[in-house]
C-alpha cells in the first residue's frame, strides 16, 4: 500500500518531489543549451520560467491528500493547545454544553423508550384498543370495553380498517395442585391468532396455535416468565405438565420470555370457538388513521344496534372510540413527557446562549490573532477550518461528558418514574439514535456558536484590528450588543423554566398538604382473595343467593374477630380504601328529573366505616349494626350529595336508586330504593386519571345488600397498624383456610403512591430549572466580568477624574441589571403564555399564580445580583494608575 508508505515516509516523498522538479529544471536548461544559449543564460531563463521552486512544491502538496490530513492533524494539535491555554473558557463551555446535552439525552432517552420503543410487539404503533363510549345522560356505565360474541363477530367480519383483530378476556381460574385449590394468578382467554399478532417467539415450548381453538382440541395454556419463576422456580420440567385449572386438566405448552407481558396477565388460554367475547385489539392497515377506524367501527356497531336493539347501551346513544395501544397504556404520562421535553429544550437553549456568549467573548479577544494569521497568508478557508476543528473538539468532549452525565442521570430518572406509569414491557435505556441525535445537536450548536463570531471578525476590515490593542478596539461594540441580547434571552428562558417548576411545586404542596377530611393515620387495609367455593353460577338464582350469604357471613365473622383483637379501635368492611374512588354510579331520585348525568361515588360498607375514617355525622344517623346484619335498604350520604341533589330541601327521608346495582352482570338485587338516613361531612377523593383532589357526591350502603366478591377491610388502631396485619391473617385462616389476604397496606402509604407521579415531574423539572439557573449565573457573570475588563481603561479615567467607588459599583450593577430587567420582563410575558400548557398537570393553583411568579422573579434577581457583584467589586477596585498604564 503505497499511500500508507507515503504517509509515514514524508521526508522521502519530499525528497522525490524535489528531485522530480530539479530534473525538470535541468532538462530545460539542457534543452536551452542545446538550442545554442550560453549556460548561465539558459539557467537564468529556465529559472525565470519555472518561477519559485517552493511555490510549485506547495501547489503539488496541495494536490495530494496526505497534506490535507497533515494539516488537519496540525489543526487538531493547535486546537487542543489553544483550548488548553484558555482553559477557563473551555471548561465553562464544556460544562454548560455537557449539562445541556446530558439533560437532553436523558429526556430523549425516556421519550424514545416510552413512545417509540415501548413494547416488544410487532407494529405496536398501529395497534388500537376499542372502547364504547356512552353518550346518553342517564343509564349505565360511561364506557365499556367488553364486546359480546355477536359484536365481536360483526367487527371481525365487517370492518375495512384492520389487518388483524385479537380478542381477550380476563379470568381467574382456580388451580388444584393436589393439596389445595387456590387462585394462583390472573389469566386471559385469547383468540388463537394472538401470539402471531404480537409476534414474540416463546422462550420454551410453543405458543397457542390455530388447532388449539378447534372444538375438540385438548386444553392448553401458555405461561409468562414471572409466574414460572415465582411458582415453579423456573424449572424447565414444568413444561408439558398438566395443571388442573377450574377443574379441567390443562397442559402447559409454552413459556414466554420476560419481556412478553401482554395484557398484564400471567397466562393465556385459547377461547372456546363459540364463546369469543371480551376486549378488542386490532392492527390498523398501513395508512389508516384512528379517526377512520372509529368511523368504520361506529357504523358497524350502530347497524347492529338498529337490527337488534337492547344490549348494555339500551339507547342508540353511544360512540366507538378506538385508542392506540400505547395511549391506553401510558395515558397521561405522555403529557409529563411533553412537559419534560419542553423544559429540557429550554435548558438546551440556555446552554447554547451561554456557549455562544463565551465564544463571542473569545472571538473578540482573538480578533488580533485571527487578523494576524489572515495577513500572514492564511486563506479564509484555512482559518474557518481551524475554527471548525476547534469547535468540534469542544463539541466532542462536551458530548462525551454529557453522555456520562446522562448515563448516571438516566438511572436516577428511571428510579424516580413511579411504578405503573409505564407498561411493564418498557425498558428505558439509551438508544443509538438518541446518542447520535445528541451528538449532532452538540456539534451543530458549537459550530453555529463558534463559527458565527469568527466569521464576523473575518468579514470586517483586518487593518484596524491589527492596529488596535485587540481588546479595547471598536469591533467589540457590535459583539457587546449581541452578548447583551444573549443574556436577556438566557434570563427570560430561565424564568420560564423556573415558573414551570414553581407552579409544580406549589401544586405539589397543595396536593400533599390538603385537608383530606379524613384521618389516614394508623389505618390499615387489606383485600380478600376469595376461593371458588364463594363463587356462584351465572343465571342460577339459588347459587347467587347462597354465594351472597356465604360472603356476608365470612365478612361478619371476620369483622367481629378483628374488632376483638387488642389495640384495634374500630374496623370496617368496604369496597375501596379511600381516597380512591372506583365505583361511580348513575343516580336516580324519584321526583327529581335532571338534564345532565348525576353521578355518585358509592361504597358498600359496614357500620364502622365512619368511625374508622373519622368522618363526623352532620345530621340524621349513621349506619347501624342492624342495618348491616339485616341488609336494610338505607344509605348515608355526604354533604355534597345533599347540597347538589336537594338544593334547599332536606335530603333525609328521601329515596335514591343507583344504576350500577341494576347492571345485568352484577350480583345485586335489582331496582332497590335506599332511604337516606344520615349526612356525613365530605372528604376528598381522587381517581386514577385525574391528579387533583375532588369533592364528589358520595353514598354509603350496608355491604350486605350486594354479593360482590370484591371485599376489603380496614382497621384503625392505637398501635402501629402494620403489626396488626399478621393477626388479621391468622384470624382469617382460622375462619376459612382457603381465603387469603391479597393486597394490603396502610392508608398513608397508599396516599404517598398518588404523590409519586407529580413528584416525579416536580423533581425532574425543578432539577432542569436549577441547572438552567446555574447556567444563567455563569452567563451573567462571564459577560459582566468581560465588560468590566473591556472598560478598565474607561473606569480608570473615571476614577482619576474623581468618581467614587460607590459610583463605579452602581455603574456596573445598573449595567447588569438593565439586561436582567429586560430579560425578566420578556420571561414573564413568555411564562404567562407558556404555563397554560402545564395547566392540566397542576391542581389547586392557577397557571398564572401571582405568588409563584413573584417568587421566581425574586430568585432570578437575587441570582443576577450575585453574578454582577463580583465583577462590580473588581471594577470598583480598579487602580487608575494601573488602568491607564494598561494600554
Amino acid at each position: 500500500m503505497h499511500w500508507v508508505r507515503r504517509l509515514f515516509q514524508k521526508s522521502r516523498t519530499e525528497k522525490h518531489l524535489d528531485e522530480e522538479l530539479r530534473f525538470h529544471l535541468e532538462q530545460q536548461i539542457a534543452d536551452y543549451v542545446a538550442a545554442g544559449l550560453r549556460v548561465d543564460e539558459a539557467r537564468r531563463r529556465a529559472q525565470l520560467e519555472f518561477g519559485g521552486l517552493e511555490r510549485v512544491k506547495e501547489e503539488v502538496r496541495d494536490a495530494r491528500w496526505e497534506t490535507h490530513l497533515d494539516n488537519l492533524l496540525r489543526d487538531f494539535r493547535y486546537a487542543f493547545r489553544s483550548l488548553r491555554r484558555d482553559h477557563s473558557f473551555s471548561l465553562t463551555a464544556i460544562f454548560a454544553l455537557a449539562l445541556g446535552v446530558g439533560s437532553c439525552t436523558i429526556v430523549f432517552s425516556v421519550v424514545y423508550s416510552a413512545l417509540f420503543d415501548a413494547l416488544p410487539y410487532k407494529h405496536f404503533g398501529r395497534s388500537v384498543v376499542v372502547k364504547m363510549h356512552n353518550l346518553a345522560n342517564g343509564g349505565d356505565l360511561k364506557d365499556r370495553k367488553y364486546f359480546s360474541p355477536e359484536e365481536v363477530r360483526a367487527f371481525r367480519e365487517q370492518n375495512h380498517v384492520f389487518e388483524d383483530i385479537i380478542v381477550y378476556h380476563g379470568f381467574r381460574p382456580s388451580y388444584d395442585n393436589g393439596h389445595f385449590i387456590h387462585n394462583f394468578s390472573f389469566g386471559m382467554l385469547v383468540t388463537t391468532n394472538t401470539f402471531d399478532y404480537l409476534g414474540v417467539p416463546p422462550l420454551l415450548g410453543r405458543t397457542i396455535s390455530q388447532e388449539d381453538g378447534s372444538p375438540n382440541a385438548p386444553p392448553v395454556f401458555v405461561m409468562n416468565y414471572r409466574l414460572w419463576q415465582r411458582e415453579f422456580a423456573g424449572d424447565p420440567k414444568t413444561l408439558n405438565t398438566t395443571f388442573i385449572l377450574n377443574g379441567k386438566p390443562t397442559t402447559l405448552v409454552g413459556i414466554m420470555p420476560l419481556q412478553f407481558n401482554a395484557f398484564g396477565t400471567n397466562f393465556w388460554e385459547p377461547f372456546s370457538p363459540d364463546q369469543i367475547s371480551g376486549s378488542l385489539m386490532g392492527r390498523l392497515r398501513p395508512g389508516v388513521s384512528v379517526q377512520t377506524a372509529a368511523a368504520d367501527l361506529d357504523a358497524i356497531a350502530h347497524r347492529m344496534h338498529k337490527a337488534n336493539p337492547g344490549g348494555i347501551f339500551a339507547e342508540d346513544k353511544f360512540a366507538i372510540v378506538p385508542e392506540t395501544l400505547l395511549d391506553s397504556l401510558i395515558g397521561d404520562f405522555k403529557k409529563t413527557l411533553y412537559a419534560l421535553l419542553g423544559a429540557v429544550l429550554l435548558l438546551l437553549l440556555i446552554a447554547c446562549s451561554n456557549v455562544a456568549n463565551l465564544f463571542l467573548a473569545r472571538a473578540t479577544a482573538r480578533q488580533r490573532e485571527i487578523a494576524m494569521r489572515a495577513t500572514l497568508g492564511a486563506t479564509h478557508g484555512r482559518l474557518i477550518r481551524q475554527l471548525l476543528v476547534e469547535s468540534s473538539v469542544l463539541a466532542s468532549t462536551a458530548s462525551v461528558a454529557g453522555w456520562v452525565l446522562a448515563y448516571f442521570g438516566l438511572k436516577v430518572v428511571v428510579a424516580l418514574i413511579p411504578a405503573g406509569t409505564l407498561p411493564e414491557e418498557t425498558v428505558i435505556r439509551m438508544h443509538m439514535p438518541v446518542l447520535f441525535l445528541s451528538l449532532g445537536l452538540t456539534i451543530l450548536t458549537t459550530i453555529f456558536c463558534g463559527l458565527a463570531p469568527a466569521l464576523h471578525v473575518l468579514r470586517g476590515e483586518l487593518q484596524p484590528r491589527l492596529a488596535g490593542s485587540g481588546k479595547a478596539s471598536g469591533g467589540a461594540l457590535g459583539h457587546g450588543k449581541l452578548r447583551a441580547v444573549l443574556v436577556v434571552g438566557e434570563v427570560a428562558l430561565s424564568l420560564v423554566l423556573l415558573t414551570g417548576a414553581g407552579l409544580l411545586m406549589r401544586s405539589f404542596f397543595v396536593l400533599t398538604r390538603v385537608d383530606l377530611g379524613f384521618d389516614p393515620k394508623n389505618v390499615v387495609y387489606f383485600q380478600l382473595n376469595l376461593s371458588p367455593s364463594y363463587f356462584f353460577k351465572w343465571g342460577d338464582t339459588a347459587s347467587i343467593k347462597n354465594s351472597l350469604e356465604k360472603k356476608n357471613a365470612l365478612t361478619r365473622q371476620l369483622l367481629a374477630r378483628m374488632q376483638a383483637l387488642p389495640g384495634v379501635t374500630s374496623v370496617s368492611e368496604l369496597n375501596n380504601p379511600p381516597p380512591l374512588t372506583s365505583e361511580t354510579s348513575d343516580t336516580i331520585i324519584p321526583g327529581k328529573p335532571h338534564a345532565e348525568r348525576w353521578e355518585t361515588t358509592i361504597d358498600e360498607c359496614s357500620e364502622g366505616y365512619f368511625r374508622t375514617l373519622g368522618l363526623p355525622l352532620l345530621r340524621g344517623r349513621l349506619l347501624s349494626v342492624d342495618d348491616a346484619s339485616s341488609a336494610r335498604h338505607v344509605a348515608v350520604v355526604n354533604e355534597t350529595f345533599a347540597r347538589k341533589y336537594f338544593a334547599n330541601e332536606d335530603a333525609l327521608g328521601h329515596k335514591v336508586k343507583f344504576g350500577n346495582l341494576d347492571l345485568p352482570f352484577v350480583e345485586t338485587p335489582h331496582d332497590i330504593y335506599f332511604e337516606i338516613v344520615g349526612i356525613v361531612r365530605d372528604f376528598k377523593t381522587r381517581d386514577y386519571v385525574n391528579p387533583s383532589w375532588q369533592t364528589v357526591p358520595q353514598a354509603f350502603m350496608p355491604y350486605s345488600v350486594a354479593g360482590y366478591s370484591w371485599r376489603s377491610f380496614m382497621a384503625r388502631s392505637a398501635v402501629d397498624p402494620k403489626l396488626l396485619l399478621k393477626n388479621f391473617g391468622q384470624e382469617l385462616r382460622d375462619l376459612d383456610p382457603s381465603v387469603e389476604i391479597a393486597e394490603s397496606g396502610t392508608l398513608e402509604s397508599s396516599l404517598h403512591k398518588f404523590y409519586r407521579g407529580p413528584q416525579f415531574e416536580l423533581v425532574t423539572i425543578a432539577s432542569f430549572a436549577g441547572i438552567g439557573l446555574a447556567l444563567v449565573l455563569i452567563g451573567i457573570f462571564s459577560v459582566m466580568a468581560y465588560t468590566v475588563a473591556l472598560r478598565t481603561h474607561e473606569i480608570g479615567v473615571r476614577v482619576a477624574l474623581g468618581a467614587q467607588q460607590t459610583n463605579i459599583l452602581r455603574l456596573v450593577l445598573l449595567n447588569g441589571f438593565r439586561l436582567v430587567a429586560i430579560g425578566v420582563l420578556i420571561g414573564l410575558l413568555a411564562s404567562y403564555e407558556l404555563t397554560r400548557f402545564l395547566a392540566s398537570q397542576i391542581s389547586g393553583v392557577s397557571a398564572t399564580d401571582p405568588l409563584t411568579f413573584a417568587a421566581v422573579v425574586t430568585v432570578i434577581v437575587l441570582v443576577a445580583l450575585a453574578a454582577c457583584l463580583l465583577p462590580a467589586r473588581r471594577a470598583a477596585a480598579v487602580d487608575p494608575l494601573v488602568a491607564l498604564r494598561y494600554e
Partner: protein, 111 residues
C-alpha cells in the same frame, strides 16, 4: 501559458496528460514537451499546473510513477497509465467528443 488559453485548458489538462502518457511512459518534462509539440505550441503547460496535476492523477490511481534511468543516464520519475486510468481516459474521450460535436453543432446551426 497565456490567460486566454488557460480558460480552455482548465478541465482538459487531466485529459491531455492522460492521453500523452497513454502513448508511452514518460517523465514530467517530456510530457510537457510532447504536449507543446503536438499542439504546435498552443499548450505551454507551466510547472505550477503540470506537477500538481500529475500528482493528483497519481493520487487517484490513474497514473503510476516509477523512478527509472533516462537515455542520458539520469534518474527521473516516469509516469505510466494504469488500467484504471485507461478506462477513465476512454470514458473521458467519449465525453469530450460528444461535447465538441455538440458545441460545433450549436455554433454551425446558430450562424
Amino acid at each position: 501559458m497565456t490567460q486566454g488559453k488557460a480558460e480552455y485548458v482548465k478541465g482538459t489538462l487531466d485529459l491531455l496528460i492522460l492521453k500523452i502518457v497513454a502513448l508511452g511512459p514518460n517523465h514530467g518534462y517530456a510530457i510537457a514537451q510532447r504536449l507543446q509539440q503536438i499542439s504546435k505550441d498552443f499548450f505551454q503547460i507551466h510547472q505550477g499546473s503540470l506537477y500538481p496535476a500529475l500528482h493528483r492523477l497519481e493520487d487517484r490511481g490513474w497514473l503510476e510513477a516509477e523512478w527509472k534511468d533516462t537515455e542520458t543516464g539520469r534518474d527521473a520519475k516516469f509516469y505510466t497509465l494504469t488500467r484504471k486510468g485507461r478506462k477513465h481516459l476512454e470514458a473521458e474521450l467519449v465525453n469530450w467528443e460528444r461535447l465538441t460535436e455538440a458545441v460545433a453543432l450549436v455554433l454551425r446551426t446558430a450562424e
